[in-house]
Symmetry: C2
Subunit: 232 residues, 2 copies
Amino acid sequence: MASADQELGEHAGFDGARARMRLRVPSVAERVAEELRYQLAEGFLVPGAKLTEATIAEDLGVSRNTVREAFAELAAERLLLRQPNKGVFVATLEAGDIHDVYTVRRAIEVSSIRAGGSPERVAAVRAAVDEGKRAAAANDNEGLGSANQHFHGAIVALAESNRLNTIMAQILAEMRLYFHKATLNAHFYSDWLKENEQICSALEAGELERAGDLLLAYLNRSEQQQAAIHGE
Amino acid sequence: MASADQELGEHAGFDGARARMRLRVPSVAERVAEELRYQLAEGFLVPGAKLTEATIAEDLGVSRNTVREAFAELAAERLLLRQPNKGVFVATLEAGDIHDVYTVRRAIEVSSIRAGGSPERVAAVRAAVDEGKRAAAANDNEGLGSANQHFHGAIVALAESNRLNTIMAQILAEMRLYFHKATLNAHFYSDWLKENEQICSALEAGELERAGDLLLAYLNRSEQQQAAIHGE
DNA sequence: ATCTGCTGGATTGTTCAACAATCCAGCGAT
DNA sequence: ATCGCTGGATTGTTGAACAATCCAGCAGAT
């Protein structure tokens, strides 16, 4: 397998929850989209990079039309930016986008936590907190980051809304896209590790108002930090 | 223009706000998606209906591949549902979806209005209220419906978030998809006409907390009504 | 009569090759 | 240095082809 011929691989497996009796064989276009999502999340494709149709088609061993179909999907998810007649590029988060993203997060995360949730969902939040602790103990930076994402994902999942979940998933995907810039400074994480703990405790205690306030405060501070890192 | 040959038409013109110095000639795939969005909103394509690639390609005078690209986009927007190897269908809102949609609306609308907004944005909300009044006076049912959508769109626009705006636009598009079932009973509207007025007044007076509460109450009631109409 | 299993036609999924339209880097003339 | 041109590369779109899949209808078995 030469460097110019990296086949479609297996990177899925985050869906976990569904036990639907369905034998799914994702279409090629679907798998191309999945592979690109993976490469984007993993940082192999840096923001602003240009994706040439022919190259990707050849690398993945699929047709150009199929690649285009995948592009249409990812562009709708804001992971790729399509510039007519110029090509598609990995999306970049500008200064304004950071505020934008956090505006969405404030809306859906705070709303979700304020509505509470079933014991199982709350337990999932607790599980994410523990996952973070474990990662911290193991000095696992990577794991620490994804634990945090699981935490916030679990908060949105409290609302039991498919649409809210996918919106959140997309937002998190967007953030992963450019998080690699900030992913290294680990002392970052030490803060919210105990903060997540507090939020989760408040949630478990049924103090939804307070849980929401804490979460909101966290999001505001996080936005400031991100803005600072990103410059300006 | 025979029935089997309806060319791509002009139904755009909602973007208004942007005065970017850009000469945009949307790609064919884009216009196909736009045309389908239009037909969906207008109710020419009823929920559950099957869209056969070849037929649409021929009707619109474009290639099948181009149609598929448009499909990928609309499926990502939840307006179409893709069932592998079976075809794409106009999305249908099930009982659970109604709750889901309103959960999203509660999250983003209430959050937006609670944060207030610039005087111009508030004025836009007022404009939507007036638009509704005018439509009511003219007995224009159609106009009444879209005035209401403008109202709620304007509320989300308070937050000045592109992402929130597009999310709201998609949600509204989803609702239009099946609103035709309920669009006739006009006494429906008489309620929220004065309610919008109240919400808007509270917003203008800076009583954001109260505005949010009113809006929330409206959304809850509206969800119930919709659920009742949709049966069970 | 109902169920089973097959079959053929229709539709989707995907590829390929082609061509027009567009963009862009480089180069030459002013 | 600026302007304008040109040629190559890339995108946008098409049309045709074929494998895979689905589905309605039908023949045969119980």
